[in-house]
């Protein structure tokens, strides 16, 4: 050893946490489940569990899409509006008499509209080089406007057999059923694990970690960023599909209040808001934590004003954690 400079030492626990930031959120999730269980005895039984998870699915899709954008160093403030827009499209096109073919066409149209929205965001950020916050905040009004144009008032009713398939647990045998949402979540986790072994994942993290360095190394940084906005819009559309099937109807304002929570869930799941670090498994956990907090508030007979207060505190805490860690480090020096 010829180098004099001492290496930075990290305890094994510190290393485990810094490599898998979602471990912290996992602990938080377990705490939430324990509290929730105490307030609601039947929480883990199939019926209530199925209902809880199903209502969280749209938020999970949004948070997953958001994660890609945030890891690459951006943010997408239009996911809620994209969800509203595609929810409106699905509700208008899938009427109660719709055939399977018509439903499929509706889904394809919604996907095309969603991807178009993502492409517009990507164009603004990578070609026009606008700030992601500004771009997606601006486009969110376009998409919200389109949603209201398509479906001015909440309405529409989907065929019953379509929604009930999605709503009910999947009966695997006479005595054993599993919530469909759980299967979807499992598939999403597998999707991430597979993606983790592709070059795209390396490019994604490199772009968010240091875009200039990634560019000089030969990563097509603009293309990667563009793709993240497409992915984010794609997942927002899938979220809309989950919402439409879950509620059986459309609401042009459905996503209005869903954008910010998607960012909070991402941060809560250990993804760094500045980019370069993160993970969609953490984001899924983040959504579950946020959802369970909502449950606790409603089951704990707390006043309704508590809900926004808690949400706000979570946002502040989640955003403050990296700063606090940095402060502690500086003070220790």
């Amino acid at each position: 050893m010829t180098t004099i400079s001492a290496p930075k030492t990290r305890s094994p626990i510190g290393r485990t946490f810094s490599r898998n930031p979602f471990l912290l959120s996992l602990i938080l999730l377990i705490i939430m489940i324990v509290i929730n269980r105490a307030l609601q005895d039947n929480m883990l039984e199939i019926g209530p569990l199925n209902g809880t998870l199903r209502t969280m699915m749209p938020a999970i899709f949004l948070a997953i899409g958001q994660t890609f954008v945030v890891i690459a160093g951006g943010v997408d403030l239009s996911v809620g509006s994209i969800l509203s827009m595609t929810n409106a499209i699905l509700a208008v096109m899938i009427t109660q008499e719709a055939t399977a073919d018509q439903a499929l066409v509706a889904i394809l149209v919604a996907l095309a509209a969603g991807l178009g929205a993502g492409a517009l965001n990507g164009f603004g950020v990578t070609v026009l080089r606008l700030q992601p916050i500004v771009t997606t905040y601006a486009t969110s009004f376009i998409f919200a406007g389109i949603a209201l144009r398509i479906l001015p008032e909440p309405g529409g009713r989907l065929p019953r057999d379509l929604t009930s398939f999605y709503r009910n647990p999947l009966q695997l045998s006479e005595s054993f059923a599993i919530p469909l949402s759980l299967i979807l979540i499992t598939l999403l986790v597998i999707f991430w694990l597979v993606l983790s072994r592709t070059r795209f994942k390396q490019f994604l993290f490199a772009t968010g970690g240091n875009a200039d360095a990634a560019y000089t190394t030969g990563v097509r940084v603009s293309r990667v960023k563009f793709t993240t906005y497409l992915l984010s819009a794609l997942f927002a559309t899938l979220g809309a599909l989950a919402l439409t099937l879950g509620t059986g109807t459309g609401n042009p304002r459905a996503g209005e209040l869903m954008t910010l929570p998607s960012v909070v869930a991402v941060v809560l799941g250990g993804t760094r808001l500045a980019g370069g670090q993160g993970n969609i498994i953490g984001s899924i956990i983040g959504v579950l934590i946020l959802g369970l907090i909502g449950n606790i508030i409603s089951f704990g007979d707390l006043d309704s004003w508590v809900r926004p207060l808690v949400d706000a505190l979570i946002i502040i805490a989640a955003l403050a954690i990296p700063g606090v860690i940095g402060l502690v480090r500086r003070l220790n020096q």
């Binding site: 050893m1 010829t2 180098t3 400079s5 290496p7 990290r10 072994r197 390396q202 240091n210 190394t217």
Partner: protein, 498 residues
């Protein structure tokens, strides 16, 4: 593999109105080490970035094995077999060593990135430097956990992983220790024998003479000569680097009166970049700080101003002080004029008046006596001969030179006793520079102690009576009197004692 020849001819690159490279030429062949030399701002970084496709030239030609080439992107250059070790490291802090080395050319197995292969290949690259790094440098270590020398090694291995036909080493030895440099040079000799072409940009003359076969010298953006190392001397190369460059009118003051009180004395100042700096500045002295860029000059000034953490002794105005925050330095009548006007010195969209008064609001009472502040502001603007529509115009309506005057003016209003200048004339026009110089002389004559870092050698030679040359975080040479010549300054910058 045997025939690799890359030539650059008459390459020109301008950024806005500034010409970084006016006539860049380079001839690179398989099996030779070509050194690229030049003083600060001579265009050597720009030229090497043209080779790697990071910068595309406005005009000029690149020829690869006789065929014209144009590298539109780093990928294109890489496909032609060119890879580079960059001076400003190109590693991604949160990825592992292996992920960084194989970024954008990850080994695939069935279409998926193979971590096993990536680890194995990384390990065999690391083995090239076996025994010369700490045990924690493994393929799975995160870059952020590595020391600077280890990052540099990873950077070198990353360039090597592309199996290049031309490798560019841009100050690649800057943070390596002696043994690591020796090993690198052994490797370079091997690569050379295997028919690789090597371009090295180095500020260490000693290294150039150790390893290079020929040297290409740049001056003011032009290639001014090529020499075979075996047939030249350090002296000849230094002369090529400076010849005819010193055009600034010399009006140098005599050495400061040793009876003047010492305003600042520093002993053993250390930061992450500085390795123990000693210096003394007296009242009425304009002390220059020179050397190639990035040798710790800015760090020194920031540390003195309390803007970055440091250890060591500091005596300011006869009192032992150690500033932990710029406020403390300001209270002790120290001012710092930063180098980057946009990011450090000015509130660009606010008015000239607001910018001028910002550091001294405290002296105008509560509530603020705005009228008096305006009077003072007008006096300073007058004194600085600022060209502006009114004091209320936003700073971003000013030219670079006038904006820089605002930065200086805001500190002059506080009448500092010690003025720290961090490359203040970068990017301002000649006329504004001349006014700035006469302002500095006035301040000096009024008894202000000034520590002046400039990346422009002519300024140091024209204004200072004593110059400290920095090299690798230390003051390597002190030049004054007859020894303060351009030749001495350049050779001291290159780390060669003469």
């Amino acid at each position: 593999m045997t025939s690799f020849r890359l030539t650059v001819e008459k390459a020109v690159k301008t950024y806005g109105g500034v010409t970084a490279l006016a006539d860049g030429n380079l001839d690179v062949q398989a099996g030779t080490v070509t050194a690229l030399l030049g003083a600060n701002g001579s265009g050597k970084s720009t030229l090497s970035k043209i080779l790697t496709g990071v910068v595309s030239p406005n005009s000029g030609s690149i020829t690869l094995n006789g065929a014209p080439m144009r590298f539109a992107s780093p990928q294109a250059a890489r496909q032609a077999g060119i890879s580079a070790v960059y001076q400003e490291l190109s590693l991604i802090p949160d990825l592992t060593v292996a992920e960084n080395i194989w970024l954008a050319h990850e080994p695939l197995k069935n279409g998926f990135v193979s971590r096993t292969l990536m680890r194995q290949r990384t390990q065999s690259l690391l083995d090239l430097f076996a025994g010369l790094y700490n045990r924690h440098l493994t393929p799975d270590a995160l870059i952020t956990d590595l020391t600077p020398d280890e990052r540099q090694l990873v950077e070198i291995l990353k360039a090597l992983s592309f199996d290049p036909r031309l490798i560019i080493l841009d100050e690649a030895t800057a943070s390596l220790d002696g043994q690591q440099v020796n090993r690198l040079f052994e490797l370079v000799t091997q690569w050379k024998a295997n028919g690789m072409a090597i371009v090295m940009v180095s500020h260490r003359m000693e290294e150039i003479f150790r390893i290079a076969d020929k040297a290409s010298v740049l001056r003011n953006g032009r290639t001014v000569g090529e020499r075979v190392i075996a047939e030249t001397s350090e002296r000849e190369l230094v002369e090529l680097m400076i010849e005819g460059a010193g055009a600034l009118h010399r009006e140098r003051a005599p050495l400061v009166d040793p009876a003047n009180p010492v305003r600042l004395e520093v002993r053993g100042l250390k930061t992450s970049v500085l390795h123990g700096v000693d210096l003394t500045v007296r009242d009425g002295e304009l002390l220059g700080l020179g050397g190639l860029q990035g040798q710790g000059q800015s760090d020194l000034l920031m540390a003195l101003f309390g803007a970055i953490r440091s250890t060591g002794q500091m005596i300011v105005s006869g009192e032992a002080r150690h500033f932990r925050h710029p406020r403390q330095a300001m209270a002790a009548d120290v001012a710092l004029v930063p180098g980057d006007r946009g990011s450090e010195g000015l509130l660009l969209i606010r008015s000239i008046f607001e910018n001028l008064i910002l550091p001294s609001w405290g002296s105008y009472g509560t509530p603020i006596r705005v009228a008096r502040a305006r009077e003072k502001g007008a006096v300073i603007a007058e004194e600085l001969k600022m060209v502006m529509s009114s004091l209320d115009a936003p700073v971003n309506s000013l030219s670079g030179g006038n904006a820089q005057k605002v930065v200086i003016g805001k500190w002059l209003l506080r009448a500092p006793k010690l003025l720290l200048l961090n490359d203040p004339t970068k990017g301002i026009d000649v006329g504004a520079k001349a006014e700035f110089y006469s302002l500095l002389r006035q301040l000096r004559d009024r008894g202000t102690a000034i520590l002046f870092y400039s990346s422009d050698d002519d300024e140091l030679l024209g204004l200072c009576n004593r110059v400290l040359v920095m090299h690798d975080g230390r003051v390597s040479t002190e030049l004054f009197g007859d020894r303060l010549t351009h030749e001495q300054l350049v050779s001291a910058s290159m780390g060669t004692p003469s």
